[in-house]
C-alpha cells in the first residue's frame, strides 16, 4: 500500500511543481491533470486496502476522471480563446485584468 501512496505523492508534488514553474498554459493544464490523477490513485488505493467490501472510492475516482475530462475541455476552450485574442498563451502576459 505504501508504494502506491509514494507514487501518488510524487505525482502530486510533480504536478504542483509543474503548475508553479511552467510558463505555458497548456503545460500548467497538464500539471493540474497530474494532481487530479494522483488523487484518483489515492481514492482507489484507500478503497482497495482499507474498505475492500465497498465501492465508493472506485466510483469517486470514476467521477473525478469524468469531471476532469469536462474541466479540461472548458480549460482548453478558454485557452484557445485567449490565444485568438492575444496571440499568446504565456501566462505572464495574461495580466489584462489586473487592477
Amino acid at each position: 500500500m505504501e508504494y502506491y501512496l509514494i507514487v501518488s505523492t510524487i505525482m502530486m508534488f510533480v504536478g504542483i511543481y509543474g503548475f508553479l514553474t511552467r510558463r505555458n498554459l497548456l503545460a500548467m493544464l497538464i500539471a493540474v491533470e497530474l494532481i487530479l490523477n494522483s488523487v484518483d490513485i489515492n481514492f482507489v488505493v484507500f478503497n482497495r486496502f482499507l474498505f475492500p467490501g465497498q465501492l465508493e472510492g472506485f466510483f469517486f475516482s470514476l467521477f473525478a476522471i469524468g469531471i476532469s475530462a469536462a474541466e479540461t475541455a472548458v480549460a482548453i476552450a478558454i485557452i484557445i480563446n485567449i490565444y485568438r485574442n492575444l496571440r499568446n498563451i504565456q501566462v505572464r502576459n495574461l495580466d489584462k485584468l489586473k487592477w
Binding site: 504542483i16 503548475f19 508553479l20 505572464r92 495574461l94
Partner: protein, 629 residues
Amino acid sequence: MEYTILILLLPFLSFLLIGLLDSRLKPGAAGTFGTVVTGIVAALSYWTAFSYFGGGRNAEGLFPTMIPWNAEWLPFGGNLHIDLGILLDPISVMMLVVISTVSFMVHIYSFGYMKGERGFQRYYAFLSLFTMSMLGLVVATNIFQMYIFWELVGVSSYLLIGFYYTKKEAIAASKKAFIVTRFADLGFLIGILIYGFYTGSFSFTPDSAVIGSAKVFLPIALGLMFIGGAGKSAMFPLHIWLPDAMEGPTPVSALIHAATMVVAGVYLVARMFPLFIGYAPEVLHITAYVGAFTALYAAVVACVQSDIKRVLAFSTISQIGFMIVSLGVCTSADPHEGGLGYMASMFHLFTHAMFKALLFLGAGCIIHAVHSNEMSAMGGLRKYMPVTHITFLVACLAIAGIWPLSGFFSKDEILAACFGFSPVMGWVMTFIAGLTAFYMFRLYYCIFWGKENKELHAEHTPHEAPLTMTIPLIFLAVVTLFAGWIPFGEFVSSNGQAYHIHIDWAVAATSLCVAAAGIAIATWMYLREDRKVADGLAAKFSGLHKAAYHRFYIDEIYQFVTHRIIFACISTPIAWFDRHVVDGFMNMLAWLSNQCSWLIKGMQSGNVQKYGIWFLGGALGLTVILLLI
C-alpha cells in the same frame, strides 16, 4: 343607482386615454373626447340628482343617505378600515351637479380659449383628472377617501396652474399653491388620524356610543381638519396661494380656483357639520371669525387691485369667507333655530359657483380679446363685446346681491343667519356685501366703460369671442338669472328636513340698500372717463391704498418668516448637520474601504502562478492549523 360609479370612472378613463396618447391624438380629437365624456358625466349627474330627489323622503322626512357602491380597501383590523365608495346625500348630489356643470362649460369654453396652444391634449387630460378627483372628493364615503381625493385635487390644481411651464411666474405660483395647501393638509391628516384613533372609524357618522370617550379630542381633530379646509379654501392667513394661482389658464381659474376646488374646505366643514354642531360648537364659531376676517380683508384688497383676475381671485376669497361664516354662525342643527346658516352656505356655494365661473369665463374672453390682464389695457369694451358685456353685468349684479338674481337669495340667507348669531356679525357681513358690490362694479366700469386705451386698440381691435366661448357664458348667465328661484331649502338643510325659504325683508332691504350704495359709489367714481374722485381718494389715502395694493404685505411677511427665520435659523443648521455629520460619516466609511483597497491592491498582480502559490500556501497553512488543533 350603481351607475353612479361611471361618474368617477369615465373622467378617469378619459384622463388615461388622452394623457397616454397625448400628442399622437389630434388636438381637436382630444378636446372633443374630453368634452363628450364630461357631457355624459354631467348628464349622469343630472339624472342622479333627478332620481335622488325624485325618490322622495323617507318616513322621518329625510332624503335617505345612499351608498350605491362601496369597497373595503385597506382593513386595519377592528372597525378601522378605509373604504372607497360613493355616498349620495343631498349635499353630495348638489355638488355633483355643480361640478359637472361647471366642468362641462369649461371644457366647451377651452376649445376657443386654448385654441392653438402647445399642450392642448395635456390640458384636457389634466382637466379630466381634476374632474374625476373633485367628483371623488364630494362622493367620498369616509374622511380618508376624501383625503385621498383631496390630495389628487391638489395635484391637478398644481399641474394646471403650472400649465405654461416655460413661464417663471407660473412655475412659482404652482409651487406656492402646492406647498401652502400641502402644509395645511398636514393639519388635515393629523386631524384625521386623531379622529380615527379616538372614534375607531373614519366614517362621517361614528356611533354616538364611541364618541362619548372621544369627546375631549373631537374638537381638536375637527379644528385640525378645518386647517386643511382653510388651506384649500384660501382662508386667511393661508390665502396667499390663490391670487398667484391666477397664472394658470383662465378657464382653469374658473373651474378650480373659483367654482369647485376652493369650496372643498366649505364642503368639508359642511360634511362634518353634525359633529361640529354636536361636539365642537366653539370650533365652529372660531371658523366663523376666521371667515369673517378673511371676507373683510379680501374685499378691501379687491377694491384696489389692477389685474382683473386678481380682483376676481380676492372676490372669490371673500365669497368663500361668506360661506364659512355662514356655516360658523350655526348654533343648532335645526334650521328654524340657528341652523339656517348651513342651508345658506350651501345655497351660496351653488350660486357662487355659477356666477363666479361666469365672471372668470367672461374675464377670459376679455383677456382673449385684449391680450392683457391689466385694467389699463381695457376700458370701453362694451362696443366690441356685447355678449361678454351683458353676461358679465348679470354676474356682477348677482354677486352684488341684487334682486332677483341668484346671489341675492343666497346672500340674504347668509346675512339673516349672521344677524341671528349676533348683530355685530350681521352688520360686518352687510358692510362686506356692500364692498363686494363696490369692487365688482369698479371692475365692471373699468373694463366696459371709461376711457378706451386707443393706442392698444388701434394695433389690435378687440373682438367678440368665438361661439365656443360665448355659449358657456350665456348658459351660465341664464342659470345665474334663475337659480335663485330654486327652493333650495327643500333639498338641503342642516337637519335634512324640508325647510321653506322665506325672505327676511328687513335684512333683505338693508342688504339691497347697501349693495345699491356700493354700486352707486362705484358708478360715481368710475363711470366717467377722468376718474377724478377715485384718483383723488387714492392720492389722499396713499398709504392705505399702497398697503391694500400690496395685499397688506402678507406675502412679504411670509417671505420674511420663511426665508429669514425658518430657512436661516432652522434649515441652514440642519442642512449643515446633514452635509457634514450624516454625509460625513458615510463618506468616512467609503474613504476607509477605499484606503484598505489601496493597501491590498498589490496582491492583484495578474500573475496566475503567484495566485497558485498563495492558494497552496493558504491550504497548507489551514492543514497545519487543523492538524495541530
